[in-house]
């Protein structure tokens, strides 16, 4: 699997300058790639373009050399983990996690069984029947993570997924993400403004600057902070 961004350009209608100007990079399969850079540089917009939620003014998102320009969001093999968990309040925990399987036509029994396995993996199997509005921020983000992974994406896009929880929960979630990655090997593209988080999680860092090119840095095992 090769995800390649080819000369992406984008400017919002109400802005007076290009937000993304000629952005190109290749995402390495099985790696965690962190996108870092100052606020307003277009990191989240870049993820939204990959997910198909925002159409770029120019350039292409290519998956295995096939342009996804005309592929709608729901047909792209990516899931997006947002800063706010965006859980479906009318569904309980297990049905939230099973959502991606439900829309693919997987039967109720099978999808709930699969969802329970994912809840086990993220350490909240005991919460399966709870209403999501009654969960803590950290628990909600675990549900969102399980839901995103249960949809079996080829790339997990994560937009500052741990920014809305406290420091302790953030650390636990980072550890969980590393553990899940070592088990599953999912390709992850994660946006963060937290340099420490990026150095802890990333195999590769992409640094964005206003209107400038993306700088890619491959982190050696030594330069990554070891999981605690």
């Amino acid at each position: 699997m090769t995800l390649r961004l080819d000369r992406i350009r984008h400017q919002f209608a109400d802005a007076d300058h290009l937000l993304l100007d000629d952005i190109s990079f290749i995402l390495e399969q099985g790696e965690i790639t962190c996108v870092v850079g100052p606020s307003g540089v277009g990191k989240s917009t870049l993820l939204h373009i990959i997910a198909g939620l925002v159409l770029p003014d120019g350039g292409s998102v290519m998956l295995d050399d096939i342009a996804l320009d005309k592929v709608p969001t729901h047909r792209r093999p990516f899931t997006l983990l947002m800063q706010q968990p965006q859980l479906f309040a009318h569904l309980d925990v297990v049905d939230n996690v099973a959502f991606g399987l439900r829309v693919r036509g997987v039967g109720r029994k099978d999808r709930r069984e699969s969802a329970r396995a994912w809840l086990e993996l993220v350490g909240i199997a005991h919460l399966e029947k709870r209403a999501v509005v009654n969960l803590s921020g950290g628990e909600q983000q675990r549900v969102a993570l399980a839901r995103a992974l249960a949809a079996e994406p080829r790339v997990l896009l994560a937009d500052e997924p741990f920014a809305s929880v406290d420091a302790s929960a953030r650390h636990e979630l980072q550890t969980l993400l590393l553990e899940l990655h070592s088990t599953l090997g999912t390709t992850i593209l994660l946006v963060t403004h937290d340099d420490t988080e990026a150095r802890r999680l990333a195999h590769r860092m992409l640094e964005m600057h206003t209107g400038g090119p993306v700088e890619s840095t491959l982190l050696s095992r030594q330069s990554r902070t070891a999981p605690v």
Binding site: P72, H74, R75, L80, Q86, H90, F99, V103, R104, R147
Partner: protein, 237 residues
């Protein structure tokens, strides 16, 4: 409601008597089994349910759009929708009737349905616009990234997350349509008879017990729907 309930089963209960002389189910039985009452109840129920359904279908995209254009413009458009309601009921109904005559729909079920939409639609649009404005629109984007197509998003995410507002909008729409008298009388040309019209006719000459039974029958579906809407709007989902 309690007084109406007692009046419905009492015989010759007049001022200044505090309690009725005797109670009987006869007025209740004769009113409920009256074929005119039964048919007007069914006609009114079908009409109000149809008006409510059409109002929701029309209000949904309008409310969604109005919620996205900003609070000021959205409120202004909803305000314009309410303008006809500021007119005297007879004046508004006559204007609508003239239009229905031109369209050849006066005195028909469809004509009355269209006429009822004039006072009903603004309430439904207002309720749904407020609900759409309050909710986080990114929830649909989230569902799309999980593989849900447009119809799946509508069925599995948008409608369930708007359930409370839909119930409140439907209840309000139903009550406004169900209580229309002047509009139904003029637009229906006396050929579309609802329970509210039978009640108004009974008010000028019917026995107090019959009026009480009819009043309870008029209050029943609207009260049940409002109670259900109240319960669902308090639901966290």
């Amino acid at each position: 409601m309690l007084v109406l309930g007692v009046q419905a089963v009492s015989v010759r209960w007049f001022f200044p008597e505090v309690i009725p002389h005797s109670l009987t189910l006869q007025p209740l039985r004769s009113t409920v089994t009256d074929p005119n009452v039964a048919s007007s109840f069914v006609t009114g129920l079908c009409l109000s349910l149809a008006v409510t359904s059409v109002a929701i279908v029309l209000a949904w995209p309008a409310a969604r759009t109005l919620a996205g254009v900003g609070r000021g413009l959205g409120a202004a458009v909803v305000g314009v929708l309410f303008l006809p309601s500021l007119l005297p009921a007879v004046g508004l109904a006559m204007g609508v009737d003239v239009m229905l005559i031109r369209l050849g729909l006066a005195g028909t079920f469809v004509g009355v349905l269209l006429a009822h939409l004039v006072p009903t639609l603004p309430y439904v649009v207002a309720v749904l616009t407020a609900a759409f404005a309050r909710r986080d629109q990114r929830i649909e984007a989230q569902a799309a990234t999980l593989g849900a197509g447009p119809l799946q998003r509508l069925r599995l995410v948008t409608v369930p997350s708007m359930r409370g507002a839909l119930m409140v909008g439907a209840a309000l729409g139903f009550v406004v349509s169900w209580s229309q008298y002047t509009m139904t009388l003029l637009a229906g040309s006396g050929r579309v008879v609802t329970l509210t019209m039978v009640l108004f006719a009974a008010l000028s000459g019917g026995s107090p017990s019959t009026v009480a039974v009819l009043s309870l029958l008029v209050a029943l579906p609207a009260g049940a729907l409002l109670a259900a809407a109240g319960r669902m709007s308090g639901d966290p989902s």
